[in-house]
């Protein structure tokens, strides 16, 4: 329990849709250790996205305890949660959520603007480093609409890395991407994980979940099954088996 990043006990989440109460989560216990690469799976409506939003402090649970990196998140107010997201979490969204008409570099810099201690010089350095880590250093002056989907998602991953978070959360990061690009993104996640980064992502594709070290299966708001991945795929190997398509379609 010493090195656990996430500790969840009897977490419940109810939504009120008109008169109807939807039980999105009906009591979930989950523990994620440092350095793990966890895929949360399940069908739509299983509660997996709700789970991720609560893990990311974007949404609050109705009941239950959530300890993130040793602190109880339930007792925090909005500002403390914002600070927590800024210092300890990194997000990757399915739709990338990059600011339009804003260069890749400025998009990556964005989280650091909300850290008052960050000097502008350090902000720039860290943004460049993060872009370098996702292999897009030479494209930092590009606008999102000048980048392919995979490149945009890499920028989003760089943005999630830039504040050196204890945990990266990704909501269907490959949902908008083709197979090869999806595997490339997984390769990036695997290399980040190899360097010790804890990553939790949601997917409904069993093939993509096989790149993780552990799978958590949600069904009807409960964890149906949890297992270590025995036949784990290594993305760099998989890429060799995939046909190379026109990857460089966006030259400058």
């Amino acid at each position: 329990m010493d090195n656990s990043i996430i500790e969840i006990r009897q977490l419940r989440k109810d939504y009120h849709v008109g008169e109807v109460v939807v039980h999105a989560l009906r009591g979930v216990d989950l523990q994620i250790k440092e350095g793990e690469f966890v895929a949360i799976m399940g069908m739509s409506g299983s509660g997996k996205s709700t789970m991720l939003n609560i893990l990311g402090c974007l949404d609050q649970p109705t009941a239950g305890d959530y300890f993130l990196d040793g602190t109880n998140v339930n007792s925090m107010n909005r500002d403390e949660l914002a600070r927590l997201r800024n210092r300890k979490l990194g997000f990757v969204f399915q739709a990338y959520n990059l600011l339009p008409r804003t260069t890749a570099l400025e998009n990556v810099e964005l989280p650091l603007f909300y850290n008052p201690r960050m000097k502008s010089k350090e902000r720039l350095e860290r943004a460049v480093l993060a872009l370098e880590a996702v292999g897009l250093k030479e494209r930092m002056g590009h606008m999102p609409n000048q980048l392919s989907g995979g490149q945009q998602q890499r920028v989003a991953i760089a943005r999630s890395l830039v504040n050196d978070p204890v945990l990266i959360l990704a909501d269907e990061p490959t949902g908008n991407l083709d197979t090869r690009t999806s595997v490339e993104i997984m390769e990036l996640f695997q290399s980040l994980n190899d360097k010790g980064r804890t990553i939790v992502f949601v997917t409904h594709e069993p093939d993509i979940a096989k790149f993780a070290t552990r799978n958590v299966m949600f069904r009807d708001g409960r964890i149906q099954r949890e297992n270590m991945v025995t036949d784990r795929l290594i993305a760099s190997d998989v890429l060799l088996t995939l046909p190379v398509e026109n990857i460089e379609e966006f030259e400058n």
Binding site: L58, D79, A82, R83, F91, N97, P111, R159
Partner: protein, 406 residues
Amino acid sequence: MNIKNLLKIAVRALVRNKLRAILTMLGIIIGVASVIAMLAIGEGSKKNIQDEMSSMGTNLIMIMPNMQMRGGVSLGASSSMALKMSDVETLRNEAVYLSAVSPQVSASGQVIYGNQNTQTTVHGVSEEYLDIRKLEIGSGRIFSSSEVRGMSKVCILGTTVVENLFGEGADPVGVTIRIKNLPFEVIGVLEDKGESGMGQDQDDLILAPYTTVQRRLAAIDYINGIYASAVSEEKSTAAADEVTEILRRTHKLKESDEDDFRIMSQSELLETVSSITDIMTYLLGAIAGISLLVGGIGIMNIMFVSVTERTREIGLRMSIGGRSRDILRQFLVESIIMSILGGALGVVFGYLIATAAGTLMGSPVVVTTQSVILAFAVCFVIGVFFGWYPARKAANLNPIDALRYE
């Protein structure tokens, strides 16, 4: 978040959406400019009316003989012989509320110079008349009191008469013209006064000493009217009362007799004018109100829409660690920048529109400081409020709800 970061974020957000920022500012520009232009045009015409009225002399008191009825037949006001030169003398000596008094004797007839002739009215007056009527000498001089006493055949021409006899722009001072076949020396020309508010040519006249006109042109022993100045605008009612009292006494009218003269003071006219300008003021207020309302609603809409469509951006900013207050401050700074820029441009455009309209309509426009401050302040407040309010709504959502906002 420190100020530097805040400004940087806000300016970046504005610059990256130049079109949206410009359109938003356009709403503010139009709002401010229309209010300023409308008020300037309204203020201009209000001032126009006031100027015209005061150019007639705000202290002016006119005393005319009253209509005489004989056996039910009106003989007309000018036929009345009720006013005599002695009345002028009495008023000069006794009336304390009058600062200047001039008799007026009119004669109309043909005026000839060389082979040119024209028909006009000769006003026989004393030298105070020009002050009383606020007339200015353009060239030459006014006749002296000794010329008045000596019945000198000197005259001052209005510019229309000069034009008719000598051609436009000529200076006839020193030449001799013939009025009803009598030679008169032209000693001065009046400053151009233009048309009166009622469309009357105020320059088609000749002034001459009343003595000369009374004896030599009209051959009468009475006068047609008395023009006087009250000591001040406020005292014109008191002056009118005083004149009534003095004239009734000297005319030996009994209690039951009606006045054989009538007094028109400018203060009566001023009452009419001030009621007109009051209406103008209300009208302007209504115009300003409607312009502000329309401009304000425009600003409100565009701000509301542009901030609401950025709810997802707000969600993203919150998810990467922006606190509600960071987001709010950013939108506040953005809307302040846009409101100030838009407001300033609106003032400039409003001024230009007003000036152009003034030139086009040939009437003066007055851009008042109050209208600028009013337009700017109201649009600024509306702009900032509706930049802030939807942002506050969005920033108070759960980050995930803001992110998912459609």
